[in-house]
Amino acid sequence: MKTLVLETLLKPLVPLFIVFALYMFFRGHNHPGGGFIAGLIAVIPLMIHAIAFSPNKTVAVYKVKPFFLATGGLLLAVISGMFSLIKGSVFMASLWPENEMPVFGKIGTPILFDLGVFLVVAGFVLKVTFLFAEKDQK
């Protein structure tokens, strides 16, 4: 698996997949897509990298901390539901800003929540892959 071709090609694939994942993520509210799907897509090249080389190398090259990615995602999801508490509403009530952001459109709390899902899925998948791909488990 540790071939030159793969190594070379993965370099552009990582940003490509992440961009594409973000595309799927932001479309998700209006088209098929969303946090789970995007989260999984984003980490595919990293998964391949970890499987082909080794998780340690992946961590070294791409500086990812999947465990904290997932934890942070969960935290983001919960917090996005708690914004409404400040306004005196109930947990998970959605808030939408008045104005649209230039590229992404409106970022309401549901979008933040979905981002949380995105991060959890990405972190989860990556962490599990890392664990599975470690060669010296026994």
Partner: protein, 766 residues
């Protein structure tokens, strides 16, 4: 009243701490008890005046359970008995168990028992009575097992608890039924309800259940076997629980509910039969035994039989007799037990044949024993005589088969006489032989107080019955009868027929005593089968239960995951099939099926699924099987696509691939598919096929239902307006039902931690 009980229980809890101050502690305990006793003595006058005193306390009101207490003649009498005996025996025990490191616990259990017993007799609510009833069983369990390091003690304690516990549970059911019949658990209210049980449909059941409880507690045949075994307890315990108090709880209950239950002929019959058998079995066994404690235990059983018999006769005379004899029995039996304890302490044995001529070194002990035995024999002017007279009178007055009754009672008394002689003469008067042990000195005064007091009390009360008994029993017996009564309590009724019978009893008893060696040899040839049967029965039940439990558990919980799964599925199949047949669901659907076109493009999915499944079953390569599963998953994802669910399809494709890919990654570390020695059983195939069929059918049925959901319209309408998104599915996921999604990602986080912990914790921790 509740305060008194709480006081006693608090005392019980404090006892182990008080015990650390030795004499002072004991003094505090006994003076507290004395105080309680004085308090109850102070109630005698009010009770005599008012008939009964009520002390209402709330408890579980919603269930009709109160902590109301009732002090009338009957309960007051028992309370006095419990407290005075309790006090005496506590003092005795302090000496008997001197130096035992666990004596504090003894005090605790003892007081705990005393309080429970007091509660039992005072409670005026059936359920709270039951509560105290069970507490006496439980505290006696702790007391019997006092010598916990001895296996015999432990066994005996458990046996007593289980047997009385069994009866208690039956009794609880009986109480509940009685409460239903009478509409209340309050005993006074029930007793007021005249004729309640005369023709009530529950009567038989109530009688059976309550008598069951009574019989186990009061050691009636065939549940009597626990009592002799319970002699493993320290002797003060035997004296207190197993002669004068706990075993009489059943008798108390009979007395207490007598007005209600005598409405049932069935009740009387049961009491008569069981009482008579118990009376005889106890007497004979007592005669045959050598261990003094065992002898006393069996005579106690016999006496308990007598009380039950008297209650079965149910006449005024009989109840009166039972009541008087109960006092007599408590006094002489308590005394004898305590003497046994003294002998055991001083001589190191309780076997009658191992002891002789104790009188010389222990004159006071001999005196106490003499008084008790005289009462047991029924010599004038002891209370035993009075009791026996009344019993004979009651037997003779029994309506249907009075001579038979008389014979039974007399026979048992003959044995009693013989036993009393045996105890007194053999122990104290006979010259010593070589093997026998001799005591060195007299017992301490603390141990002698109780038996002497009891012995003299028997003498005193017997000599002056009018003075000492009239007031209390004059108020107690009417409570038993449920109607007022004038008591005639004189010692001397003249030289009548009954007196002759009494004399004859003593004479025959003495002859029996003289010829005891020969008679015992003769008796040992004739086996009385039903004596040992109940205990064997108990053992067989316990062992059988154990065996049954073992085999059944081994059979059900057999450790094979495949069995567990298939049973689950099988139960499902059976339930659905049963339901289908019962409700006739199947027929409608079959008709619907006939009118459907079945060929369309979804066939391809069916085809893919079937082909790959066949491949899975045949293939031996992990990778291929996984890939095949993937094909199934992809086919399903494809059908999601066709069924307008692109989000689901994408997710299925991704999720599917993810789990299979990770499975493949880990596959080299799993055992392979080939397991040649294993052959799957046909019944599993059958279960699988049936399950498939049932699920097919369930799906068909479910799809056949017509429905319209308001939820669909709401979500579609509000997706853009409120959720600001055109993809209704995603809006549901992140907004309408975001809580589900929160749970979902929590599951992922948890799984992640779980996988880390499984794969990273390499060290096995016990």
């Amino acid at each position: 009243m509740a305060e008194v009980l709480i006081f006693i229980f608090v005392l019980a809890v404090l006892a182990p701490f008080l015990q650390r101050f030795h004499r002072i502690g004991l003094f505090l305990l006994s003076s507290s008890l004395l105080g309680v006793l004085v308090y109850f003595v102070g109630l005698v006058q009010p009770v005599l005046e008012k008939g009964s005193l009520e002390y209402p306390y709330q408890w579980a009101n919603e269930l009709g359970v109160s902590l109301n207490f009732l002090v009338d003649g009957l309960s007051l009498f028992f309370a006095l008995l419990i407290l005075s005996f309790g006090l005496l025996i506590l003092i005795y025990a302090s000496s008997y168990l001197k130096g035992d490191p666990k004596i504090g616990r003894f005090y605790m259990y003892f007081l705990f028992f005393l309080g429970s017993m007091l509660g039992l007799v005072l409670a005026s609510n059936l359920i709270s009575l039951f509560v105290f009833w069970e507490l006496t069983s439980f505290s006696s369990y702790l007391l019997i097992g006092y010598y916990n390091q001895k296996e015999k003690s432990r066994k005996a304690a458990r046996q007593a608890l289980l047997v009385t516990g069994l009866g208690g549970l039956a009794m609880l059911a009986g109480f509940v039924l009685l409460g239903m019949a009478g509409g209340t658990y309050e005993i006074p209210a029930l007793l007021d309800n005249a004729g309640l049980l005369e023709n009530h449909p529950y009567t038989q059941a109530i009688v059976l259940l309550i008598s069951f409880g009574v019989f186990t507690k009061s050691a009636q045949f065939p549940f009597h076997f626990w009592l002799p075994n319970a002699m493993e307890a320290p002797t003060p315990v035997s004296a207190y629980l197993h002669s004068s108090t706990m075993v009489k709880a059943g008798i108390y209950l009979i007395f207490r509910l007598n007005p209600l239950l005598t409405q049932s002929e069935f009740w009387k019959d049961i009491l008569l039969i069981i009482g008579a058998i118990t009376l005889l079995v106890g007497a004979v066994e007592a005669f045959r035994s050598d261990d003094l404690k065992r002898v006393l235990a069996y005579t106690t059983i016999s006496a308990l039989g007598l009380f039950v018999l008297m209650a079965g006769i149910g006449s005024k005379d009989a109840l009166k007799a039972a009541f008087i004899y109960l006092i007599a029995h408590a006094l002489y039996k308590g005394g004898l037990f305590l003497v046994t304890g003294i002998l055991d302490h001083k001589c190191g044995t309780r076997n009658i044949s191992d002891l002789a001529e104790v009188r010389k070194k222990m004159p006071l002990t001999a005196l106490a024993t003499g008084l008790a035995c005289a009462s047991m024999v029924g010599l004038i002017p002891l209370l035993g005589f009075l009791g026996k007279e009344m019993v004979y009178k009651a037997s003779l007055s029994f309506t249907s088969w009075n001579w038979g009754m008389m014979g039974i009672v007399m026979l048992s008394n003959v044995f009693f006489v013989a036993i009393a002689f045996k105890i007194f003469i053999a122990l104290f008067l006979q010259p010593s032989k070589d093997k026998t042990t001799q005591p060195v000195n007299e017992a301490s005064i603390w141990m002698l107080i109780a038996p002497l007091v009891m012995g003299f009390a028997g003498l005193f009360i017997g000599a002056f019955p009018e003075f000492s008994l009239k007031s209390i029993s004059g108020s107690a017996v009417p409570s038993i009868l449920g109607s007022p009564l004038e008591l005639d309590l004189s010692l001397w009724h003249g030289f009548n027929f009954i007196f002759i019978l009494s004399l004859a009893t003593i004479a025959i008893g003495f002859i029996l005593f003289l010829g005891r060696t020969r008679i015992l040899v003769w008796m040992s040839k004739i086996k009385i089968p039903f004596e040992s049967l109940p205990e064997k029965g108990y053992q067989n039940v316990v062992e059988g239960l154990q065996k049954w439990a073992n085999s059944q558990t081994r059979w059900i919980q057999n450790g094979y995951l495949r069995n567990y799964i298939s049973i689950f599925i099988f139960v499902f199949i059976v339930l659905v099939t049963f339901h289908v047949i019962r409700s006739g669901l199947i027929f409608d659907e079959l008709i619907k099926l006939g009118s459907q076109d079945i060929i369309n493009n979804k066939l391809i999915i069916l085809f893919l699924v079937v082909v790959t499944l066949v491949f899975i079953f045949l293939s031996k390569s992990q990778l291929m099987v996984v890939a095949a599963i993937g094909i199934i998953g992809y086919s399903i994802a494809l059908s999601y696509t066709m069924y307008s669910a692109p989000d689901v399809a994408i997710t299925q494709f991704l999720a599917e691939s993810l789990s299979l890919i990770l499975l493949i990654l880990i596959a080299p570390q799993l055992p392979g598919l080939v397991n040649t020695k294993l052959k799957i059983k046909g019944r599993y195939l059958l279960v699988s096929i049936l399950f498939g069929l049932v699920m097919t059918w369930v799906t068909l049925m479910g799809m056949g239902v017509e429905k319209s959901s308001p939820l669909k319209d709401y979500f579609l309408k509000n997706s853009i307006l409120e959720g600001k998104g055109a993809n209704a599915v995603n809006v549901i996921l992140v907004d309408f039902r975001a809580l589900d999604t929160l749970g979902e990602i929590s599951v992922l986080a948890i799984t992640m931690v779980g996988i880390i912990s499984l794969l990273k914790v390499s060290k096995i921790n016990p």
